[in-house]
Symmetry: C2
Subunit: 170 residues, 2 copies
């Protein structure tokens, strides 16, 4: 729980391009590194507002852009609308399992998938700069609840093919 490392990265990032570490930026940074969850921009706004800090929505977005750009925060398209942000630990990377029921986000990392991705890129002469890989469905905790609910409904929603099919969505 020592965000010092990230703070100095951020500081350096700002310095390098003649930007300033204002009290708003510092406050946002602190709030962000006080937890370790995924969060939305407006969530931060509310949290800071309730903590007496005043900060505008525009500044939240502007600062978030800086943090993403500096590499210590990641911007992810999760859920149906808007972005979510997450702390990024240097050099680490992960993808997401997202529960449609409770919204829980599970991070996973599968080296074999990563290297297969590289192979795919090679195949197409594609230079990958970033990627996004998310699986949506029902998490372990929600499965019992959902399946009992389904039992109540008609079986009409059953997928024809029988076998579990994974279709693209987002």
């Amino acid at each position: 729980m020592k965000p010092h490392r990230e703070l100095s990265i951020f500081r350096k990032y700002l310095e390098k391009r003649g930007l300033k570490l204002t009290s708003e930026r510092q406050a946002l940074f602190d709030e962000l590194f006080a937890r370790h969850e995924h969060f939305e921009a407006d969530e931060l706004l509310v949290r800071l507002r309730t903590k007496h800090k005043k900060i505008s929505r525009a500044t939240i977005y502007r600062t978030l852009d800086l943090l993403v750009d500096s590499g210590i925060v990641g911007r992810v398209r999760i859920g149906e609308s808007g972005y979510r942000y997450e702390r990024l630990r240097a050099g680490e990377h992960h993808d997401h399992l997202i529960c449609n029921e409770c919204g829980r986000v599970i991070e996973f990392f599968e080296p074999a998938i990563e290297s297969l991705q590289d192979q795919v890129c090679e195949r197409y002469g594609f230079l990958a700069l970033s990627h996004s890989h998310q699986l949506r469905g029902i998490c372990r905790q929600c499965r019992p609840r959902v399946s009992s609910r389904e039992a109540g409904r008609a079986a009409s929603a059953a997928i024809p093919g029988g076998k579990l099919r994974i279709l693209p969505t987002a």
Copy 2:
């Protein structure tokens, strides 16, 4: 180029829930299956408008929802904002390589990745219902252009680690 199969699926889908095949829905369907690219909702609106057909934005979205729900069209989060739609051929599935330069979308399918995904889900007791997997970067055609442009700039943007790193973004 015979969309008859899909049309009958759509027809059946509508019938099953007492919905009607209106001229607007038919027109949208036709326009959609006249090509095979990824497209945005507003794009369809424009295309139909220029083809003398009048149709409202709301109807476009409503019909697109039906098509997605019936399984013959897929909704994908590509690019920075909004959705894109794409024809789905029955049983087929693919993921995307997206070029940041020209916007080109390359479809790929890697069975090994799919099965690794299943393994990841098992590991977490997660029931996957859909997934999204996109790599963003520079396509073969754009690479020469981009690298020469980069050469002009300072080398300051070089990634420290040296090795190609793939970071999450969307």
